[in-house]
């Protein structure tokens, strides 16, 4: 299958941003900033890179994705709806009783949700387990995860980082959404995690630092990661919280609140260009 162009990916990301905003606005609660900051990374991952087939969601050879930053679930749900894993009409059931779109992901592989997440720092080790399973079964699938800067404050994150390098998991690629915002403020003010690139390097990872909103850089990094042998790769995407909607951009306040009616109107106007 032909891979989409950078321009096509950018257009998909624009539409996904609109879906995310509508979804979170309707839910009246949840996270707005994170999904908008990671959506470019995830768009490239899902629409350009991953070997997956929505018609055969349980294929044992499929690439796996773990949303370690579980609070950015609306971004994953928007992607899975667009790909056909989750029916589109579910969009307005986010965070509603009985919905598959739980506030944080609940494992549902048939619908493309590979793991339950939401408690930060755990996805790194979970992804390692999936990557080790590929080794045990002598399969070639790759395991991707979306990590976060706030999540990097968790000790368990580094247990996973150590193990991935020790076991030379070159079928592991972590994307890290570095928007420098967490619930209580800027990461650099609350509990700085910098320099993340040097930390991962010293743990034995191949590190690629990019602008997490430049689609061309993201796809290049994903291609490069696939070629690296003998060590896992982390792609650190420098991002902006709330990217794409100037009202929300880089404002910690928008980490964990839904847009109001007025804010949604302004945001959609901006995204529709």
């Amino acid at each position: 299958m032909k891979k989409p162009s950078v321009a096509q990916l950018e257009e998909i990301a624009r539409q996904l941003r609109i879906d995310i905003l509508k979804m979170v606005h309707h839910a009246k609660c949840g996270h707005t900033g994170g999904p908008l900051s990671c959506i470019d990374l995830l768009t490239a991952l899902y629409f350009y890179q991953m070997n997956i087939d929505p018609k055969n969601p349980l294929s044992p050879d499929r690439d796996r994705f773990v949303l370690s930053a579980g609070h950015t679930a609306p971004a994953l749900y928007a992607i899975l709806m667009r790909l056909g894993y989750i029916p589109k009409e579910e969009i307005f059931t986010l965070r509603k009783l009985g919905s598959v779109l739980q506030g944080h992901p609940k494992m549902h592989p048939e619908m493309g949700i590979e793991m339950s997440t939401g408690s930060l720092g755990q996805g790194m080790s979970i992804s390692n387990g999936m990557a080790l399973a590929a080794r045990v079964d002598q399969k070639n699938y790759r395991v991707y995860s979306l990590e976060s800067d706030g999540g990097s404050q968790e000790g368990m994150m580094w247990e996973g980082a150590m193990a991935a390098a020790f076991y030379k998991l070159d079928n592991r690629c972590a994307l890290l959404d570095y928007n420098n915002v967490q619930i209580d403020g800027f990461v650099s003010d609350v509990m700085d995690v910098a320099p993340l690139d040097k930390k991962f390097e010293s743990f034995g990872w191949n590190v690629i630092v990019i602008d997490g909103h430049k689609m061309a850089e993201i796809v290049c990094a994903l291609d490069e990661a696939q070629k690296v042998k003998g060590k896992p790769t982390v792609i650190i995407g420098k991002t902006i919280l709330g990217k794409g909607v100037s009202l929300f951009e880089n404002k910690p306040k928008y980490h964990g609140v839904a847009p109001t009616d007025d804010e949604l109107e302004v945001a959609l106007k901006e995204l529709n260009g």
Partner: protein, 318 residues
């Protein structure tokens, strides 16, 4: 069929040894078994499996949370994962990863932790897990088993490898008498009457079962006829058996190498409250920490040896 009490109390095997050997044996039949340990494979006896199946064993270092997460990932890809370390670290340090990443997605991870309870002995309170059954039992979808001897350990392993979903198996360091006959059939959710009496019924499991059997003998000399029910399956628990025993006996006593809060005694009390109100004497560790000493000394200190159990029963009944 239970081995008639007293028939073969001379053979002593620690449940951790039975675990290690049986796991390596199951590894032959079940190629999807993967085993993880956190730098304690020599103590938990997973090293037997590791030696036999090096491609399916991963030492995760002293990193219990990461080990649980890794187990979840392996299980999500179709593996049946046995995870071992000391009970205190498995259930304490790694509780939240177990809840979030193993139990919530209902993954096939079997947490088989050794060195549980007071009988770790000399290592002291920091290593004596006396809360593990409580904190595992409370997690939805998590099953909990506490074998009394080597035979029951093997039977539990045979059962859980065929059972979907997560579970916790509590294993001990100290050698303990073999109580069950090899023909014994363990069923998840079923208790087992080891000895029948008519006045008092003990509910117990784990290392203390042989002590309880001896306590029953001491009490027999005082004309108290005791039933001893082995409750290896703590969750799901055999409510029918508990109700039947409550109807038949004047006195009910739970005995466990665990805090009296949240463990077997609490599980029995929950059933009694729901289905058949009856008082229950709960023996165990009385909301305090353990301490160093030989395991025999420690068990005696906390009045959980045969004499201590018998005296407590007589004292509380009086």
């Amino acid at each position: 069929m239970p081995r008639p009490y007293g028939m073969n109390m001379t053979q002593e095997i620690a449940t951790r040894d039975a675990y290690g050997n049986k796991l390596a044996q199951l590894g032959e039949k079940y190629s999807h078994i993967v085993v993880l340990d956190a730098d304690l494979s020599g103590s938990t006896k997973t090293n037997i499996f590791a030696k036999k199946f090096p491609q399916r064993f991963f030492n995760m270092g002293v990193a219990e949370q990461g080990m649980m997460g890794t187990a979840a990932g392996l299980a999500a890809c179709g593996k049946t994962v046995f995870v071992s370390t000391f009970a205190i670290f498995a259930t304490g340090r790694a509780w939240e990863p177990i809840r979030q990443s193993i139990a919530y997605p209902n993954l096939n991870v079997k947490i088989c932790a050794s060195h549980a309870g007071l009988t770790v002995g000399e290592d002291g309170a920091s290593h004596q897990a006396i809360e593990d059954v409580a904190v595992m039992r409370v997690i939805p979808q998590m099953k909990v088993f506490v074998p009394s001897d080597a035979v029951e350990t093997e039977k539990i392993l045979e059962a859980i490898v065929e059972d979907a979903g997560p579970c916790y198996v509590r294993l001990g360091r100290a050698k303990t008498p073999v109580l069950f006959d090899p023909s014994y059939s363990f069923k998840i959710g079923r208790g087992h009457v080891l000895k029948e009496g008519k006045d008092l019924c003990f509910f117990t499991h784990g290392f203390l079962t042989s002590h309880v059997l001896q306590a029953a003998e001491i009490l027999a000399q005082k004309n108290i006829s005791c039933t001893v029910a082995s409750m290896a399956s703590v969750k799901p628990i055999d409510a029918d058996l508990i109700v039947a025993m409550a109807k038949k006996h004047r006195t009910l006593v739970s005995v466990e190498e665990h805090s009296i809060i949240g463990g077997l005694g609490s599980a029995v009390a929950e059933v009694l409250t729901d289905k058949c109100p009856h008082s229950l004497i709960r023996l165990g560790v009385n909301d305090e920490f353990g301490q160093s000493g030989s395991y025999q000394e420690v068990v005696r200190h906390y009045k959980l040896d045969a004499e201590g159990i018998a005296n407590s029963v007589l004292g509380k009944k009086a």
